[in-house]
Every structure is written in C-alpha cells, then in structure tokens.
C-alpha cells in the first residue's frame, strides 16, 4: 500500500467533490454569508480534509458525510427561498438598532450587540457621529446599514438640477493584446474603427495595447504595454524582499 498515492487519489476525490457540491449550493458571495453558512462551510471543508488524509477509515463514509452536509445545506437554501417564515427563523432578519436617531436598547440586547459594536460598525462606514444617523439596521449577515439624516446626505445632481447622462458599463475590446471581436460586434463597431482609434493615439498594432475599453457613450480607454513611466511611485513604507 502506497500511502502517498492513496492520499493523492483521495485528494482528487475530495477536491472535485467539494468543487461540485459548492458550485451547487454556494451561490452567495462570502460577504453575504450568514453565520450558519459560515459554519456549514467550515464543517464541509473539515470533512473533506479528513476524507483526504484519514487513511484509518475508508473514503466512503467521509464522502457520505460530505454529500449529506452539502445536501442539507442545499435543502436549507431551497426552504429559505420558498418559505419566508422559515427563512426568518433559519437566517434571522434585519434588526433596526437606531430609529429616527434614537438607539433601540431592547433590539440591541436581543441581537446581542453592544453599543460599542454599533459605533465601531458605524465608523467602518465612515460615520463618526451618531447624530448623523437616522436609521441603522443590523442585516442578517451581521453588517450594519446606515441611513443618514437628510441634512447629512451629500448633494446630488438632481438636488442641483444639473442634467446627467448615463455612462453605462464599459466593455473590453482588447484584453492582454487580443482583440475580442464579439464585444466589438455587440457595440456595432468593427476592427477598422478600432484601428483608426488606436492610430489616433499613436498605436499601429493591437498587440501593443494591454487593455481597450469602450463605454456606451463612446468614451474609449486605452492602456499600452509600454507605459513610459520612468519613476514609479512606491507606496511601501519599508524595504521588503521585492
């Protein structure tokens, strides 16, 4: 029995099983994970680790544990998606901790948060004075959402009656020196148009550019491989290995 080879094969089984299961159950971003999702992830990872290296027992029971946890996680996701009541019980619900500028002490106690935690979360959001806050809500993922009082909200173009145009999302036309023709077609442009734009910027070949993007308003961004920057700003505060 070659232990190294067995661990190698078991690693492949655990790795790809985990990949497949997490692709099925894990649609949420890490930042949106609830505490239970977090625990679920750790447990599944731990089972996969013992599936890989615990040679004293067969791979099969570990794998059954892995798929059972993954299936239950998926089931919970379906239940919370289809049944709002269950979602509130299982994932919790947002708690208003500051209402009309007043701290809700009972809600804080129920959510098991100290006021110092709330002040810290407020500072994380750039709010240093509780006077500025109209509403603060602890979301079910533990993050704090803040609605500032009207007098502390920034002025918008609408407030000033300044007309604004939508800029839209930029699309990549050249990525790492390679032309993406599909995106060009989507924007009703062709290669000749792109070459004339590049020539206007003193570029003769697509292979000279690292990135070209175009937004729906027609604004083009071009970055060449050769940046012609002689002195690069170093933001490091001490001399490191590189």
């Amino acid at each position: 029995m070659n232990e190294g080879l067995v661990v190698f094969v078991r690693s492949i089984i655990a790795f790809f099983s985990l990949l497949i299961f997490t692709r099925i159950i894990g649609k949420e971003q890490i930042s949106q994970l609830t505490f239970f999702d977090y625990v679920l992830g750790i447990t599944i990872g731990s089972i996969a680790a013992s599936l890989t290296t615990d040679l004293s027992s067969r791979a099969w029971p570990h794998w059954v544990g892995l798929i059972t946890w993954a299936a239950l996680g998926y089931l919970m996701e379906i239940v919370t998606l289809k049944w709002r009541y269950a979602s509130k019980v299982l994932e919790g619900e947002p708690v208003i901790v500051i209402m009309n500028g007043k701290i809700m002490e009972k809600a804080l106690k129920k959510a098991k948060y100290r006021i110092s935690d709330i002040l810290e979360l407020m500072r994380n959001q750039g709010v240093f004075d509780p006077n500025e806050v109209d509403f603060a809500i602890i979301e079910s993922n533990g993050r704090l959402s803040i609605l500032k009082k009207a007098e502390h909200l920034p002025v918008t173009r609408k407030d000033m009656n300044i007309p604004a145009q939508n800029t839209g999302i930029s699309t990549e036309l050249v990525y790492d020196g390679i032309l993406i023709e599909e995106n060009l077609r989507q924007l009703n442009k062709d290669k000749d148009w792109l070459m004339s734009e590049l020539k206007a910027h003193g570029i003769n070949s697509i292979s000279e550019v690292f990135l070209v993007t175009l937004n729906p308003e027609g604004s083009i961004y071009i970055d060449k491989y050769d940046d012609h920057i002689t002195k690069v700003t170093d933001i490091g505060d001490y001399k490191g290995p590189f």
Partner: protein
C-alpha cells in the same frame, strides 16, 4: 451541447469517484491467479488440522503473496486499519507455524479471515 457537458462532466466525475470508493468489496474477491484469500485460508486450516506443516509453510507464503495482490487493488477504497491488522495476523501465523502451534495458527487464520471480510465493508 454546452449545457449537456456542464451536467454530464460533474455527474460522470461523481460516478467515477463512487466506483473508486466502493470498488473494494468487489476487488478483494479472487479475480485472477493466486489471489483467493478465503480459499487459501480454508486450505491452510485444513492442512494445519492435518498437521502437514511443510504444506502449511508453502500455503502461508502463497497467502502472503495473494494478500499483497489484493492490497494493491483495494488500497484506494479500503481502510488502513483492516489492512494493517491482516498483516499482523499473517506475522503471528508465521510464528505459530514455526512453533507448529495448531490452535494459535487456526486462531490467527480465523482472525485474518475476519479482517478480510470486514475490508471495504
């Protein structure tokens, strides 16, 4: 086609993994020449009862070789504990054969059989 591949590749992968993990129960059975563990144990018990110690030594060596073949096949699906315990039973059997100790030899063979039957089970 793309959708088919997105579903079929993970599905085929899982089926392959299941086959690797559950193949031990089949792979421990005699599949070729000189790899019949329960058959050899049975013959050994009979020879020990008849006290034919020369034949017993030869068959014990065959059992060793058969076990090496089986371990090679079941290593990805079996638990290391059962494999180790079988090796220990074989070592003890060798000692019992040297001492021509009938009861110990049969005890070790019975234990070895139990480890074989529990393998990947």
């Amino acid at each position: 086609m793309r959708r088919f591949l997105v579903i079929s590749i993970p599905l085929a992968t899982i089926i392959l993994f299941l086959a690797v993990m559950l193949s031990g129960n089949y792979l421990k059975l005699p599949l070729g020449k000189n790899d019949d563990i329960p058959g050899l144990i049975e013959v050994l018990i009979k020879d020990i009862q008849d006290e034919q110690w020369d034949k017993v030594s030869q068959k014990a060596e065959e059992l060793n070789q058969a076990w090496e073949k089986v371990v090679f096949r079941v290593q990805f699906s079996a638990e290391r504990n059962e494999i180790n315990n079988f090796y220990i039973a074989l070592a003890r059997l060798q000692g019992a054969i040297i001492e021509k100790d009938r009861s110990s030899a049969i005890m070790e063979l019975k234990e070895a059989y139990e480890h074989w039957s529990q393998l990947s089970n």
